[in-house]
């Protein structure tokens, strides 16, 4: 089936099999391997991207369901060589250890801050319910997101 999807501002048209997920489409067809596959069944959040402005788990969306939508992946966050404030905050506050969950964390953080520009620690933790960090580095992830909020608001 033919789909047209805008990813990080660029429109793509491809013939895809209905059974492939949006994650698979992004990684294997568009070569955007920043979006990770963890559990592959909507539990862990490593595959989080934004779809029409909302954080979603791309492993549990068929590529054909994304037809006509506007997707942002981790590759779309930086502005050229300049990191997005959320990325910069993760770097500064050691918001990552092995880094596997990080793209999903950053994309979910973008959704949290879009809906709540100045979240409390509790609100950040609640917002991250759908993202697992198996290094258990949550403390610095939360710190990074709160710092990013300050940077964006200042």
């Amino acid at each position: 089936m033919k789909i047209t999807v805008k990813v990080n501002g660029v429109a793509y048209t491809h013939e895809v099999e209905p059974r492939i997920s949006l994650t698979h489409y992004l990684r294997e067809i568009l070569d955007l391997t920043g979006t990770h596959i963890g559990c592959d069944t909507s539990g862990c959040g490593a595959c989080t991207v934004t779809m029409d402005g909302k954080a979603v788990k791309s492993c549990t969306i068929l590529a054909v369901q994304a037809d006509g939508s506007d997707i942002t992946t981790i590759e779309g966050m930086a502005n050229g060589n300049e990191m997005h404030p959320i990325q910069a905050a993760f770097k500064e506050h050691h918001g990552l250890q092995c880094g596997f969950c990080t793209p999903g964390m950053v994309m979910t953080a973008a959704d949290i801050l879009k809906n709540n520009p100045n979240p409390t620690e509790e609100e950040v933790r609640h917002g991250l319910e759908g993202n697992f960090c198996r290094c258990t580095g949550y403390h610095n992830i939360v710190k990074s997101i709160r710092h990013a909020a300050e940077q964006i608001n200042s």
Partner: protein, 266 residues
């Protein structure tokens, strides 16, 4: 993980979806948000030959106030329900329920119609639709009909929907006083036990999910209720309580009583 092969058809109207369902019968599955169906297909627990996507059908994602009721389109997402002022003002218990489902990414895609049709015994909405005496509005090849929530759930993953029927909306009467409390399965956020309580005049209506293979109205609690929380003792009277690696029969029964008590005292 990749599901087995299927034909994907995007339906543009309810009648088209119903006709496709009638044509393909058992070989077809309806896709809305996909957050129950797609994982099941990846794990090959479900191998439909035809997937009928109702996600883009116009008008199914609308929440409207109609007199003394609120009608919620089947494709409304949990997040949409959580953010709706109409629901907050008129059926706040449903907002409370939606707030406990999954996580923000799941709430952004999963739908109320999909969750009800899937009828997972640990899903949250069933407790609330039962306690609210909501009506499930369905469409089939012979037109549309209303199913009372108390007639809708018939067993594990089993509902009163006929093979050619899809849910189009859910009608909730306005509820002034009610609450939903649950004991979370800590990884999936499903309900190990979920209890919806609606105060109705001097009486009470109690819906329970997660405890039996079918969500139920705790009629023994409702009969025993006399204004305090002592009736909570009857939460699992006459019920065959489920046992799994999250909670055995004794623990689950205890949780049910604790959460009914919590609801009656709230």
């Amino acid at each position: 993980m990749i599901p087995s092969k299927f034909n994907y058809i995007k339906a543009s109207s309810v009648s088209e979806a119903v006709n496709l369902l009638d044509e393909h019968g058992f070989d077809a599955k309806i896709l809305s948000g996909g957050h129950s169906l797609i994982p099941a297909m990846k794990l090959r627990l479900n191998r439909p030959e035809v997937v009928i996507d109702i996600g883009g059908i116009p008008g199914l994602d609308v929440i409207t106030e109609e007199g003394d009721a609120v009608v919620i389109g089947a494709n409304c997402t949990h997040q949409q329900i959580l953010n709706s002022q109409v629901i907050y003002k008129n059926v706040n218990i449903l907002k409370q329920t939606a707030a406990t489902i999954g996580d923000v990414q799941v709430r952004n895609k999963g739908t109320i119609g999909g969750s009800l049709a899937h009828a997972d015994p640990s899903a949250d909405y069933p407790a609330t639709v039962l306690a609210c005496d909501a009506t499930i509005i369905v469409a089939g090849k012979n037109g549309s009909r209303n199913i009372a929530a108390t007639d809708f759930f018939q067993g594990i993953f089993t509902t009163a929907l006929e093979d050619d029927e899809i849910i189009t909306a859910v009608r909730f009467p306005k509820i002034a006083h009610g609450n939903y409390h649950k004991f979370y399965q800590s990884a999936s956020r499903f309900a190990v036990v979920g209890v919806a309580v609606v105060f109705d005049g001097s009486g009470v209506k109690v819906g329970i999910t997660g405890v039996a293979d079918t969500p139920y109205r705790a009629t023994k609690v409702e009969e025993a209720y006399n204004g305090d929380s002592s009736a909570a003792e009857h939460a699992v009277d006459g019920v065959e309580v489920m046992s799994d690696h999250f909670a055995d029969v004794e623990y689950r029964s205890h949780l049910a009583k604790v959460f009914v008590k919590k609801g009656l005292e709230a």
